[in-house]
Symmetry: C2
Subunit: 408 residues, 2 copies
Amino acid sequence: MIAVDAQRLLGRIRELGAVGRDSEGRLIRLAASDTDRLGRDLFVGWLRQAGLDVAIDRVGNIFGIWQSPDNAGQAPLLIGSHIDTVIDAGIYDGCYGVLAGLEVIETLKASGFSPPRPVAIAAFTNEEGVRYTPDMMGSLVHAGGIGFETVLAAVGTDGSVLGQELARIGYAGDKEPGFLKPHAYLELHIEQGPVLEREGVPIGAVENLQGISWQRITIDGVANHAGTTPMSMRSDAGHAAARVITFLHDRAKASNTPTVATVGTIRFEPNAINVIPSQAVFTVDLRHPDEQRLQAEEAALAACLEQLAVAEGVTISVERLARFEPVIFDIRIVELIEAAAKNRGLGVKRMTSGAGHDAQMMARIAPAAMIFVPSAGGISHNPREHTEDADLVAGANILLDVVTDLAK
Amino acid sequence: MIAVDAQRLLGRIRELGAVGRDSEGRLIRLAASDTDRLGRDLFVGWLRQAGLDVAIDRVGNIFGIWQSPDNAGQAPLLIGSHIDTVIDAGIYDGCYGVLAGLEVIETLKASGFSPPRPVAIAAFTNEEGVRYTPDMMGSLVHAGGIGFETVLAAVGTDGSVLGQELARIGYAGDKEPGFLKPHAYLELHIEQGPVLEREGVPIGAVENLQGISWQRITIDGVANHAGTTPMSMRSDAGHAAARVITFLHDRAKASNTPTVATVGTIRFEPNAINVIPSQAVFTVDLRHPDEQRLQAEEAALAACLEQLAVAEGVTISVERLARFEPVIFDIRIVELIEAAAKNRGLGVKRMTSGAGHDAQMMARIAPAAMIFVPSAGGISHNPREHTEDADLVAGANILLDVVTDLAK
């Protein structure tokens, strides 16, 4: 069996991870920023060095295409992920998949393999969605889910306009978004969760991706004096919010299913120690890999809110912030991943992706699946994000095998 | 029976309530500010007009003293409250008690009453505690609970220093704090709660004041991805905080006692929609008129936190922000208030003050009690704060009667 060049792959992950550090050493390469440009320049240099054709589309998605006159007419096999980061990021999220894809192509090229179709690697713009919304932007545009004019007009958290920033850093390309129609799509990624590590399994064959429901809930009660208002005469918006949080937690925990429910943000008004909150605003993040179950969770929350409004004398309004249906990945590719792992003597587990990935957008236009490797402690979006070198190399070799199969 | 001049009293309440409005019409007379100076100047003008001796102490407490050569050696009967306000205040909180006290003295003077001891009215500095902490500052200094040098060095929310601000607005007086040793202390105040209105009783004879326990609780869990972290593997600081809120609410509500428990402020870290909170910081305001019961409530909260730390895998730290023991007012004065109400054919109810007042400080150095009048809807610290004119006048007449009794 051929194998990737482990030192080249690991070296590049570290080299890219050193680009975009601030004065405190924090890794920050927000989409279309000056540090993102530095990361892109490094990656494009490696693409050219590998002899790939470099193409950049109007939203800054970067493609490195390995094709020959013989196979140029065929739909390419596409590998992808992203190289933008969150604030104070780890070095693996996204970058690992992009650099492993490049590594796989270089390995195959060097091996004398002559695929009947092109193989390409993509780095999609603004997967993280920290500076501009929505997240997974570049792949969403590529899959035709949103117009490129719309996202180029996106205004960032810093007031910048994405289109202007892409032009400024030299990554407003000329390719029409979606120009490359993939035969299939593969993405290798760190799990960003604790399951593989906990179970001691090195390879995840990702068969689906959770549906995501994001809602913002506003509860309006009545501000009143914390000392003079008897408990029986209160309309306490903060207490009502706490009831929702415990309801969601208890229901998800008791369900014995993959349901996850998170209240990550909260704000009270007037937020004074001796005033009963007149208002509580919080977000709910609900996820489930099955659309019907996700809808059932949303309905249970709605019923809880309705009862609470009566019981607590509050008014409740709900705003939908985001909603993605679950994604079912291509079962044949999932089976190829499993077979490749077994063939290399590696444990493998079918699993669900709890996080969003570019693969979920690409699954709209091509058979797609993902490969996961373990994340130490399940930690991600954090400088402590870590995957063992052996796991990184193992994942890249599985990608190599599946690409070889799919490119045939 | 003599009675106060209702029109003069109501007119002054409205006149003082018009002083210190901002461009949006909001009433803001924070302690030692330019608008506080305007309110003080108006009040001092009325004191002089009434022929009272004006004295100002080092922390800006204003006293209007009605004394004669015959009674100047006796301990004076002191009436007091405050004329500083919160931001966007109503016109009654504090000001009503101060202006009714002045009104009572003028009425008694005009009636030819010759009391055997001086009668004085006090407006204490910074009762509200919005600009400088602690609240009830002027009366606390007067009662010897804190040194005047300490409070003069207090730095405000706007970075100002109280001592400098008092000097700037001309109210850094020369009297030693505590110079006036009261024979007894009376305070007339709006209830700031819903009880009198709900029960249709115009006069409250305040027999005690709740003890107050303020704590800040910090819960530390582990930030993690909202999608990839199974419910069973979470240490969710936000969920743990919600458990505390529902525990406190359910316990207080079920207790069928005057216990009140309020969580008025909360903050999550990192406060991101898709990140399990690593930290939740919130405040707890517990009140009870009985010290042993208040201690029992504090102990129940501590036990809850201890169990929660184990059950949720979080660490919890508690910081005490403020603690006042309950105050028992002087039963003889409470009985005088009840008798005066009955004598005027007014309903009266013994009650507990849920809010803090200058009277709780003065109770440390003299027999003290308070008279309450109804607050519409229990609303206070709000422009909708309202008490009917008839109730305002009735309260002032009860104060007149009790002052007449006590001054004898």
